[in-house]
């Protein structure tokens, strides 16, 4: 089994391709895991701040998507 496949191709019938992962799944891994080393560019982000940035950015996008895709004839929908 190869570890790399074209973005739309599943690697197995049951397993979704991580190249198509949601942003929240990517950020769980890229901000919440991985090798954590101090770089030379010091940014005042750590732990809780990273989580806040992540959630703020994602909830903003969820709201934007809801506004974009809500059908125009359903006035009761959020």
């Amino acid at each position: 089994m190869t570890l790399f496949s074209a973005p739309d191709e599943p690697t197995h019938a049951t397993l979704a391709n991580p190249a198509n992962a949601s942003l929240v799944d990517l950020l769980d891994r890229l901000l919440g895991a991985g090798v954590v080393l101090a770089g030379d560019i010091v940014i005042s982000l750590a732990g809780v701040d990273l989580v806040q940035i992540r959630l703020h950015a994602l909830i903003t996008s969820i709201r934007a998507d809801v506004a974009r895709y809500a059908p125009p004839t359903s006035p009761g929908r959020p």
């Binding site: 049951t14 979704a16 799944d25 990517l26 991985g34 954590v36 080393l37």
Partner: protein
């Protein structure tokens, strides 16, 4: 392999991750951030995969602002993930956290040297293995109203004497059914986790995601990651299918992978 990269004013090195026995030619056509291609910095038997970035975009002040910009964040995260997937296809990879930026290649090399032992251990831990994610959602049970639905049960009804007690009994019964459904869901999730963990060399529980983020109405009750040897990926995947069939009335499963080993190639 790049020649010694001296510090260019206003530029830094974005660090994607570390590898062992990586042939630089294998990542030549991979995506990159900024204007230039990926490069490989070597120290001993370990490599760091980097690219040149402009500090006007990746410096301290710029990052603080850009990390709040969803489109920018998504572009960087997806590119970082694609690079790590590509490196992982060619060698054992330990992904770095997002936006780790060093001044120059000498600094990158120093990081490798300072962390050589924990990096080696992390790479040993994940060599020949991939991460698989399994999310477990609790299905809506028939006859069990979600907690938001109780409140409209009686607002339209008249309230003759005695119906107040009946209303309270109905509410308590609904709360009990929800608790039982939740407990059953937890038991099923634990059963599934035990079965999958028996096929993996390690597992982690990540934070379950809020319905606002998942796009599903069913609540996520477990967000799991497993470190699985490559040769048993097919068997693991079949087991996920089997567990879905077996527990279908109670839970919905979503599996993805193989991922680079983000949750397991950590420095302890």
């Amino acid at each position: 392999m790049s020649a010694e990269h001296s510090h260019r004013a206003g530029h830094g090195r974005y660090l994607f991750g570390f590898a062992r026995n990586l042939d630089a030619a294998s990542v030549r056509d991979a995506p990159s951030l900024g204007e230039t291609a990926l490069e490989v910095v070597t120290s001993g038997d370990l490599q760091a995969v980097v690219c040149d970035v402009d500090l006007a975009e990746f410096g301290e002040d710029a990052l603080t602002e850009n990390l709040e910009n969803l489109e920018w964040l998504e572009h960087v995260a997806r590119t970082h993930n694609e690079v790590v997937l590509r490196v992982g296809a060619a060698a054992t990879v330990a992904p770095a956290r997002l936006v780790t930026i060093c001044a120059n290649d000498a600094s990158v090399r120093t990081r490798i040297d300072e962390q050589r032992l924990p990096l080696t251990e992390a790479l040993d831990r994940v060599q020949g293995r991939s991460e698989l994610s399994v999310k477990i959602y609790l299905r809506q049970q028939p006859g069990v109203a979600s907690s938001g639905q109780d409140s409209d049960v009686t607002s339209a009804q008249a309230t003759p004497a005695g119906s107040g007690a009946a209303y309270l009994r109905r509410k308590q019964e609904q709360a009990r059914l929800r608790r039982d459904a939740g407990n059953r869901g937890t038991q099923v999730a634990d059963t599934i986790d035990r079965a999958l963990a028996s096929r993996a060399v390690a597992s982690r529980r990540l934070t379950p995601q809020d319905p606002q983020l998942t796009g599903r109405s069913e609540p996520m009750i477990a967000n799991l990651a497993y470190l699985v040897p490559t040769e048993v990926l097919d068997g693991f995947s079949s087991l996920v299918e089997q567990l879905q069939v077996e527990h279908s009335p109670v839970v919905l499963l979503e599996a993805a992978g193989p991922w680079p080993p983000y949750s397991f190639a950590t420095l302890d």
